[in-house]
Symmetry: C2
């Protein structure tokens, strides 16, 4: 990573207002949270509607120009979807506007993720909380038109489902598959993460109340995502390969360990 | 539930465009998905910013006027937050505008949730997917000012963390706690759910390719949220109570069972 950790500059858009001490602006942290989320909530505005629209989509951070760039570097967010969907129609319109010189620079999107890591159960309802890690990226989305970049993004996104999976699928994708797959590239404008970990905070006056201490269970209940036994298709003929088994084991272990680590962390008030 | 299942009417805002067959408009289904999500992604627009902002918040469906109403009935979404946060400042401004007769009807919000239930691994990268359940609600948020309604919502939301928890905390909340807790009530305008379940879909030409069948593992890997062993605070003196233990066991069992059920479902193409 070099001598320092790159951060997104704080401004009106990305600053964590409430519990600012839980805010984190490091690219490495934010990009890791995005990449470890199976779904990303993509929000954007639709003309003539007061409500933003939020769709869960699959995406991954990457750099077509510098594929070896690590997560601490400036990256784009590649999102997978279909041309016929609202998001991509809008992205296409705005891309066309850009191509036509009308300005705009793509569809303004907010891409967010949140992991729940534990229930925090206090004496007062007021101090109940979750341990969680959330991240948000703001940027402008345009449709990827270049076929080489599209294939780069398709590989990136397939490998986000199971690392190494791309090379273990039928290759290459057909022309029709490439054509009917749409990829958006989000140029990131800013971002931030917000993380709550540690144990329970309770008020001094509650902690001195013997009746409460004698009657209310307090603590943290770790929560994590896990995987069940893989269920092969009726036409599967192959043993579960090592790259998949290793990932499934790692997914279970890493998530469980993090939830325990978060629960055990010293709470700085 | 009566003779039929109530549905949100389909319009431009809530209609599921891509894979319309996966769309679901039943209040019961949508409200259940919202209530079984520990965090809800709340999106709204901020003046003079092109990007919507999405924040993860805790919320629950309910009806202050008819607390016994079940999930299949028209309900409001109560969201927990702080007055000092951006969302609630906006909500307050817009509520003030409403109170002042300036119209508006509250802050336009999009509230969404998504559960991942499995990895779907096909022969082609194109047919990779997730089993998932997502739901979205569109509506207008205003600050809850009435103290009785606020307490109703605080109880509802605390019980969403662990059912029955409210009665097992220090009661009543202090004046200061009530004052520094903000609750938004979202009047729902429309909503929808989108659900993908079942096994793998592959192309006929891939299924006839013996080399692929001999080399690529295909199937569904169930994913679910689970809980670890509860970790008591250093000042806890109480055995884990039955209401909590039952919920934790049910959480693990229900989530695991759903992921298996989703994986086993017949895929209608």
């Amino acid at each position: 990573m070099g001598r320092y950790e790159l951060e997104y500059p704080r401004d009106d858009i990305n600053s964590v207002k409430r519990h600012g001490e839980q805010g984190n602006y490091a690219l490495q942290k934010i990009h890791s949270l995005i990449n470890s989320s199976q779904l990303i909530n993509v929000s954007f505005n639709v003309p003539d509607q007061p409500y933003p629209v939020t769709l869960p989509m699959i995406g991954q951070m990457g750099s077509f120009d510098k594929p070896s760039a690590d997560l601490g570097h400036p990256l784009d967010l590649y999102i997978h979807g279909y041309v016929s969907s609202r998001l991509f129609r809008l992205g296409r319109q705005e891309s066309d506007a850009v191509a036509g010189g009308a300005g705009g620079g793509g569809l303004a999107v907010c891409c967010s993720v949140a992991h729940v890591d534990g229930l925090v159960l206090a004496l007062s309802s007021f101090h109940h909380s979750y341990n969680y890690r959330s991240a948000v990226l703001f940027g402008h989305a345009t449709l990827v038109e270049d076929e080489a970049e599209k294939l780069y993004a398709m590989e990136l996104i397939t490998n986000s489902v199971v690392p190494g999976r791309w090379d273990n699928t039928r290759l290459p994708p057909t022309k029709a598959e490439i054509q009917s797959t749409s990829i958006l590239r989000v140029k990131i404008r800013s971002g931030s993460a917000k993380i709550r970990d540690g144990g329970v905070s309770d008020e001094k006056f509650d902690l001195e109340n013997q009746d409460l201490l004698d009657s209310i269970w307090t603590g943290v209940v770790p929560i994590h995502k896990t995987m069940g036994e893989p269920i092969p298709t009726p036409y599967n003929r192959v043993e579960l390969p090592a790259y998949a088994k290793e990932f499934f084991d790692d997914f279970k272990k890493t998530n469980e360990e993090y939830s325990l680590e978060a629960a055990a962390k010293e709470k700085d008030k």
